[in-house]
Symmetry: C2
């Protein structure tokens, strides 16, 4: 369980002997990590203990291009001219396997890639590939608190903190770094974006000596450390009478602070900031805007190459449910779009994939790509907050791929999210992908062992968004469990269907939010209906959905470029799966599928439950192929999922039957 996808199961290979000597020409801290990983991996896969040398004659030679000297010819060197420092070359030539690149990080990624190839039984003497990450920033956000809890954590407690202290034994952090590096993650923020009282002091001497130790661990795996900060820190820590970003003393305070941080962590990544959001402090308090707020921090960080990652999750969280004109979906775009061009070049806006909050189905946020002069990254949530909380199986790669492949039309047809966040559309200095992590101190890291696939897939997808959901699933299954074809097929099928299954038995047709308030697990159809969170479905006896059209609704659709704007705005062209996100329709409205809305609700909910029954059956056939610990863990989770699916099915169906009075065409049971 613990080793996730770095199981390094024994493999058969005719090239086994090549591993007896490995030359590592580099001597950075990352090179040490490489050696460490190779030792673990080679011993496990081949029962061979590799010897390390710096000999150019070894069968396997790992080194930065300049270190390789004559081993790399001019033509190969030329290939590297225009690619990033993280790109690597794996090349078998003259009876030698070379792993090289322009930096030690490149070597690390090259080695992990090589080990992946080996695990899949590929012949390494056939390798000749140059691989580069499509996104420069590939980040994880930990929502961990100093008391050891994890906000929206479903895998036990924090691996970073316990009982108000940073953990003494940091070996688990090191293993986490290994997992992340193996899939190409290069940045991490280690504390919750909601920065509470004591965590505010993370940027002071009180905690920096120990945070430095964590930074050292991650650095050896090519991962840059960031900290979430409290915008009101100058007041909280040093009793300044303001945190106004234009105040001279406040500016100086942050400069002093950054100087101190960089004394401990010279390559400090920068700050992650949740400001003016859900009662967190921010520049609005001082009648300043978010450019003022982020630029002030950016100025302090600039001399050290640090960045400000500023979250766009800003909306009115004390909305009156009676007010139908305010639309939370509009908020990020309305707040940030007018500020385009005002942000410093080391400010990056972090935008959630959808306009609401990580629902099982949302349209893509119209803000992504809409700001041409402002660095942007997209934010996903690996933690399954609204998607089953790692009790229910929900493999999220297909969801993320759908988002990344969405065509925004911002610079004409073919302007995908994938291209925008990779920085290929606008001249962003920094861009990429961030996500909320899903790990904790459970033995298997992710509560449900199958949820490891989301962390794995997140990293792989972030490195290369062109990988298919199937490829990622297959990779993960084979590295995690076995190459047994039956297992790969059955488990692959389970993973690949799971998002659709989860959608089937939960909130229908993109409407979202029919979930238990606060905990966000299990159904509560009206749970958010009369609340202050801006999250409504407006179901009445006649129909359901949120009218976000230009003509009669909130006008949210106008935030999209054409033709998306018209596609969503017009009932006739709006895709079924987002219908209730954009329109309020009668229960008898006929979908493009040919079904009425109400019959669709009934059918998908009965189907979703049956599909979970099938997941259980599928998993039971795996019993002889999976070790008992992991088999049992997943079976227990599926037992929870089936209970949850039953609850969703019956509550949703009963609710809508009671409200609409329309019987099920197939006469199935309501309550």
């Amino acid at each position: 369980m613990y080793n996730m996808w770095l199981q390094y199961n024994p493999v058969e290979s005719k090239n086994k002997d090549m591993w007896q000597e490995v030359a590592i020409l580099n001597d950075s801290c990352i090179a040490t990590s490489i050696k460490n990983e190779l030792t673990i991996a080679i011993e496990k896969m081949f029962q061979v203990k590799p010897a390390y040398s710096t000999s150019n004659d070894a069968k396997i030679v790992i080194g930065i291009i300049d270190e390789l000297g004559e081993l790399v010819d001019k033509q190969q060197k030329h290939k590297f001219a225009d690619i990033s420092d993280e790109s690597f070359l794996i090349s078998y030539q003259n009876d030698q396997l070379l792993v090289t690149g322009k930096s030690d990080k490149a070597l690390l990624y090259g080695v992990y890639h090589l080990l992946r190839e080996v695990q899949h039984g590929h012949d390494i003497t056939k390798l000749n590939l140059l691989d580069q990450p499509k996104n420069s920033l590939r980040m994880l956000n930990q929502w961990d608190n100093l008391d050891g809890s994890v906000e929206r954590g479903y895998s036990g407690n924090s691996i970073f903190y316990e009982n108000g202290k940073i953990v003494k034994d940091k070996s688990r952090i090191k293993d986490y770094a290994r997992f992340l590096a193996s899939v190409g993650i290069n940045a991490i923020s280690i504390n919750n974006v909601n920065v509470w009282k004591e965590e505010t002091y993370f940027i002071t001497k009180k905690y920096l000596p120990e945070i430095k130790e964590i930074a050292d661990i991650f650095r050896a795996y090519g991962i840059t450390l960031y900290l979430s900060i409290n915008f009101a820190s100058p007041i909280a820590i040093d009793g300044l009478d303001t945190a106004d970003p234009l105040d001279v003393n406040v500016k100086q305070w942050w400069k002093d602070r950054v100087q101190e941080i960089c004394h401990y962590i010279p390559d400090f990544g920068g700050f992650v900031v949740k400001a003016d959001s859900e009662h967190r402090p921010g520049p609005f308090t001082y009648d300043r805007d978010h450019a003022d707020g982020s630029n002030m921090l950016a100025e302090a960080l600039a001399p050290y190459g640090g960045k400000v990652i500023w979250r766009c999750f800003v909306y009115n969280c004390v909305q009156d449910w009676r007010d139908r004109s305010t639309d939370r979906a509009r908020a990020a775009y309305d707040h940030f779009k007018p500020l385009d061009g005002k942000f410093h070049e080391n400010v990056i806006l972090q935008i959630k994939n959808g306009p609401m909050d990580f629902q099982v189905r949302e349209p893509v946020s119209p803000l992504i790509g809409a700001m041409k002069k402002t660095n942007q990254i997209i934010e996903f949530q690996v933690a399954q907050e609204y998607t089953g909380q790692q009790r229910d199986l929900c493999y999220l790669i297909p969801q993320w791929k759908e988002v990344l492949q969405f065509d925004t039309y911002i610079k004409g047809k073919g302007t995908t999210i994938e291209d925008i966040v990779a920085g290929r559309i606008h001249p962003y200095k920094y861009s990429g992908i961030a996500a909320v992590s899903n790990i904790g101190n459970d033995e298997n890291w992710t509560g449900n062992t199958l949820a490891q696939a989301n962390l794995y897939g997140y990293g792989r997808l972030t490195w290369n968004p062109e990988l298919s959901s199937e490829t990622i699933a297959n990779e993960w299954i084979q590295q995690t469990f076995t190459s047994n074809e039956n297992v790969v097929n059955v488990l692959g099928d389970m993973l690949l269907n799971s998002w659709e299954i989860y959608e089937n038995y939960t909130a229908p047709l993109g409407v979202g939010w029919m979930v238990t308030p606060n905990t966000h697990y299990g159904p509560n159809i009206d749970g958010y209906e009369y609340s202050r969170w801006g999250t409504y479905h407006f179901a009445d006896r006649d129909g359901i959905g949120v009218d976000r059209t230009k003509e009669t609704g909130t006008g949210y659709t106008s935030q999209y470029e054409e033709p998306n704007q018209s596609t969503y705005n017009n009932l006739d062209s709006c895709p079924d799966e987002l219908l209730l996100f954009f329109h309020h329709v009668p229960y008898k409205y006929t979908l493009k599928s040919g079904k009425t809305v109400i019959q669709h609700i009934y059918d998908t909910h009965f189907l979703g439950y049956e599909q979970v029954e099938q997941l259980v059956q599928q998993w039971e056939t795996m019993k002889d192929n999976i070790d008992p610990l992991r088999y049992t863990n997943i079976r227990e989770r599926l037992a929870l999922q089936i209970r949850n699916a039953r609850e969703w099915r019956d509550q949703i169906n009963t609710y809508f039957y009671r409200k609409s009075g329309i019987p099920d065409e197939k006469g199935r049971t309501f309550y």
Copy 2:
């Protein structure tokens, strides 16, 4: 704020001088309390410091009958023959005022009564009254936890515990004892009926020495101390392998325990027990019934005169909402009625006033009086859990009076709850009233200062259920604030209307439970609809209500005697205010009031909100007559109430409009 109704405001009196010497012939610890109270009261009211003597010639003489000797004639002595030890005589004769009775407790009650007469400006030379409590057990249950929290507490933290310890400074407990004694409370359980891990040890040496101190304080005010216990204590404390009530070792264990408790507290009251209820342990675990469980404890307590107060709040709290045949309302009767006659004579069953759980409107529990051979007390809730949580004003005396005046017909017409719990119907050895307290360590004890009236009224009503709600309100206002006629009228009006107002804007027509789960404040119409708590309203697009009839429903109505059974069972005769508790009806069903159910819902909710607006206006006219602290406290609470009433009004109306589609006759606003 702190002094509640023992303000002892200055009064004019021609008999002021009588108080210069007071003879107290008794010398018990209660006599000391009497002196203490007289000193406080007389100084405040008359600016006179009374001298105490034991002289039969004093103008005011306080003593037990036997101590008074010749001062009491034979005729007077004769009057006492058949009345309880707690009854007192106040008699002005031969230029002397006598306060007497058969015990020191009687003197205490007599003195408090006398002081009340004085505060109301009555002429004490006209006094000649013999007063006796109608109920022998007049109890409060504290739901206080050792960590300082109070379950369902709305007045700050516990006055008994803080941070896992019993409070060192017990002066506030003494003042609480004064307040309770002043209204005749004679029993208290000092810890939560949900007995958690550490509180389980209250019955051991670890806590008994300090609990003894609390018992000493209460004893001096005539109040007997009880403890809530964990039925699984033998396992939890001493590692026995069972808590089976028929096990010899378990029986002996409890006997030893009681012996130790009574070593510290010789007049220990006994145990309060919540067993097999909401996941608390109990005899069901061992296939024993509640007679087995309670009798075992009763045997241990009997030698010391102790009692077992066994709560009947036993129901299936993991019900499937799909299951319409199980009816939580039936549970207490179904569980306990068959056991009548099996309980020991020192077991008392404590039965909540209604069959559910302290809703703003419920029918009276059919179990009360239904067991002819088993001691019973009724349980009220002074804490406003479901009735506004001491933010909203809700004077509960009218509710309790309605319950007490309910005619059960159990022994023919006129068999009221009042008579049953007073022990006048069945030959109960013990009977009376218990209630959950509403106090905490807020400066004013009850959060909302006006909630003090519920504690005052509970005590007064328990002593004498014949007192009217108006009388109690007037007494409380005058003692707490002023005799100013305008204040008495306006505030009296506010108090007396407040229960109806609260009912108007919350769940309609007896259906209950449309409240935020867990916290129980504010509306959440479907909050308990799909839950495991057995608390449903079954609203659909056509109608609402729970069918509890014999013919088509759960048959709960059959638990009542005739004619109540038929009254409730028949739609035509069922009272409007309980209609939805007993019947499922269409929204257009016409009430006895002439309105349809739906129009009743709309009208009461608009009205309820307007009535709260009026409460605010009424209170604002009090500004010049009330000290600023208390004025402001109440104004702030009313501001919270109006927000709450608006939320209830709009959510309830909108919910039912959306569901029924029936417009308001008056065209008012829904959302």
